[in-house]
């Protein structure tokens, strides 16, 4: 379910690729976005709640490609940023941007189906704001 926020993330990631960002930088940017989501949602639904959403997100995103593997079985206790970051860093930069955007968009869409677009936008607003207003992925290496 596309939204201005999740579309904005995709555009942002593609722009950073055009600006010469590496796949690692893209992976870091996506990881920052996910950490922002984690920080925004953990107080409300708990670490396990966020981890469960993340696990489902990865499961849904995998449907469109086998690039990402679920690293852990069973009930997750926390979001696994490293596994995702590592998987994205191994892609070409443009693919990493596409796949990173897919993860973020899927997470957004999943939360939207559960609590509606209005509350999703309200809850994730700080996470998007952190990513989009922060330094670009390209700057993080300097």
């Amino acid at each position: 379910m596309p939204s201005p926020e999740s579309d904005g993330i995709a555009t942002f990631l593609k722009r950073t690729v055009r600006d010469g960002a590496s796949s690692l930088q893209i992976a870091e940017a996506v990881s920052v976005a996910l950490q922002g989501i984690d920080e925004a949602l953990t107080p409300i639904i708990g670490k396990r709640g966020v981890a469960a959403l993340h696990q489902r997100t990865v499961h849904l995103a995998r449907g469109s490609g086998s690039w990402l593997i679920l690293t852990k079985e069973g009930v997750p206790t926390a979001m696994d940023f490293e596994a995702l970051k590592s998987a994205l860093a191994q892609q070409e930069a443009i693919d990493a941007a596409d796949q990173g955007a897919l993860i973020l968009q899927t997470f957004h869409a999943l939360l939207t189906t559960l609590v509606g677009p209005s509350l999703t936008e309200r809850l994730l607003r700080p996470a998007w704001a952190t990513l989009l207003s922060g330094p670009s992925a390209q700057d993080t290496t300097s």
Partner: protein, 491 residues
């Protein structure tokens, strides 16, 4: 100026709740909302929170190990009171499951205190408090006991000037539970099930320093949230209405000739019972009563309990309702008399209504949840008194099976509680079913003692003459009086 502390009462804006709380919720109070699963505790808590929370008076809603927060947010936002914009501004949800899962009450308390210190909320909710208790009991926890926990929590919250609500699943109010002792307020929600009928009831078991309304009060949960129905007599307690002075003014019934039979119309503030068999024209008389009021510049309200309102409601009544001059209280499943009274009073207030019709008592009784039928007569009596006290002149119709050997006016023994009675009967004359009507009673007023024939056509009820040549009318099969009978007449 007094040196005593003034306790500010917060208006919860939950319809009817402030009335049964005795004027609102005491600020800084420590309250428990308790009841069985599914009885509406979380909904009530959210409704109160969304009503009271502002950026200047923020709220924290702690979720523990009960309903998953995502699910709670998913369902609660279906209610009209849920305002997404309030989230993370005036309302903050904080999940304590990671702290509660280890069963350490000290840790849970610390986390609550940390968050309260950080955000300085004026309103704090802990849902479900029961799960905190259960978590602490799981492995013989050596830490803080429940009693200490509750006492410390209450102390901290009061010191932080936070009005607090613990939401908990408790099944019996007789449990020796420290929470019940420490809390200032105890709001107990119940669901009473009888056959296929389910009625929600609320009891304010405790509210320190408040003149709460004792007993069980029915409530309903709709898209708008919780709506409580305090007894109309207390909930509305309007000032004595000018109409309440009996015989000060009389209302026209809208049926030519009937006012004269009543001794000049129906006195304002009176209750009138129109009793008669099916098809005798009781509802038509009620409609004429309302229409006459509108014609005279008054407004009215009708509680209609027909089986199929859209089909059976008369055109006159439908037009009056459409005009906005007459309010409608419609039939709903599992009604309580308090709910009907509350809705009637709302309409009386909204429209300034002076004419009230309940059509019919038989339908009203059928519409009630079985659990309330037992008290029907007593509750109806209170309702009628309240409506009259609010300046309403009440007309009630009552289905009355024709029993020609038994002169009765109401199957409910309601006749005694009404100020006036009109009875309608069928009689047989010349192989025709005719109708007769009589005024049986108008309290403290002279009235006609005539049995008058009447007919009904498209224009309504037309009262005719007395059947002076007939006798034994109330037996259903009158005979022509011998003295008046001429040759060849039937005897």
């Amino acid at each position: 100026m007094t040196s005593k502390v003034a306790i500010n009462r917060l208006a919860t804006k939950v319809p009817g709740l402030d009335e049964i709380l005795g004027g609102g919720l005491p600020e800084f109070s420590f309250n428990l909302i308790a009841g069985q699963p599914g009885c509406g505790k979380t909904t009530l808590a959210h409704q109160i929170m969304f009503a009271l929370a502002t950026p200047e008076r923020p709220a924290i809603y702690f979720t523990v190990l009960g309903e998953p927060p995502l699910k709670m947010l998913r369902y609660q936002q279906q209610f009209e009171f849920f305002d997404t914009e309030a989230i993370n501004t005036s309302i903050r949800f904080i999940n304590l499951s990671d702290d509660a899962v280890v069963g350490d009450l000290d840790r849970v308390l610390k986390r609550i205190v940390d968050e309260v210190t950080r955000h300085s909320p004026a309103l704090v909710f802990v849902d479900s408090f029961r799960s905190v208790v259960l978590a602490s009991e799981t492995d013989g926890n050596p830490h803080n006991s429940l009693q200490q926990f509750v006492q410390q929590l209450g102390m901290v919250m009061t010191s932080w000037q936070a009005t607090t609500f613990l939401i908990g699943e408790y099944f019996t109010e007789t449990d020796a539970n420290p929470v019940f002792t420490v809390s200032d307020g105890l709001i107990w929600l119940r669901q009473s099930v009888q056959r296929n009928s389910m009625v929600r009831k609320m009891e304010i078991m405790k509210m320190r320093g408040q003149p709460t309304l004792p007993g069980l009060h029915t409530f309903r949960i709709t898209d708008a949230g919780v709506e409580v129905f305090p007894p109309a007599s207390v909930a509305n307690s309007p000032p004595a209405h000018p109409n309440a002075t009996p015989l000060a003014r009389r209302l026209s019934m809208g049926v030519p000739g009937l006012d004269e039979m009543l001794g000049g119309g129906l006195p304002c503030g009176y209750s009138l019972l129109v009793a008669g068999p099916s098809g005798s024209g009781k509802s038509i008389l009620a409609a004429a009563f309302l229409a006459e009021g509108v014609r005279a510049g008054e407004t009215g309200v009708i509680a209609a309990f027909e089986q199929s309102p859209s089909r059976s409601r008369s055109r006159v009544v439908a037009d009056l309702i459409a005009s906005g001059k007459v309010g409608l209280v419609e039939n709903r499943a599992d009604l309580s008399i308090d709910e009907v009274g509350y809705m009637l009073m709302q309409n009386i207030r909204r429209l300034g209504a002076t004419r009230v019709v309940i059509d019919s008592l038989s339908g009203f009784e059928l519409a009630l949840a079985p659990t309330f039928r037992e008290d029907f007569r007593e509750s109806l009596s209170n309702l009628v008194i309240t409506l009259a006290g609010a300046g309403g002149t009440v007309l009630m119709t009552s289905e009355l099976e024709d029993r020609y050997t038994d002169l009765r006016f109401s199957p409910y023994g309601t006749a005694f509680m009404t100020d006036a009675i009109i009875v309608q009967r069928y009689i047989e004359i010349d192989s025709r079913l005719r109708r007769v009507m009589a005024v049986v009673k108008v309290r403290a007023s002279a009235h006609s003692d005539q049995l008058r024939a009447y007919s009904i056509d498209g224009d309504g009820i037309h009262i005719g003459e007395m059947l002076a040549h007939q006798e034994g009318l109330l037996g259903g099969r009158p005979t022509t009086k011998l003295a008046a009978a001429g040759p060849g007449k039937r005897s």
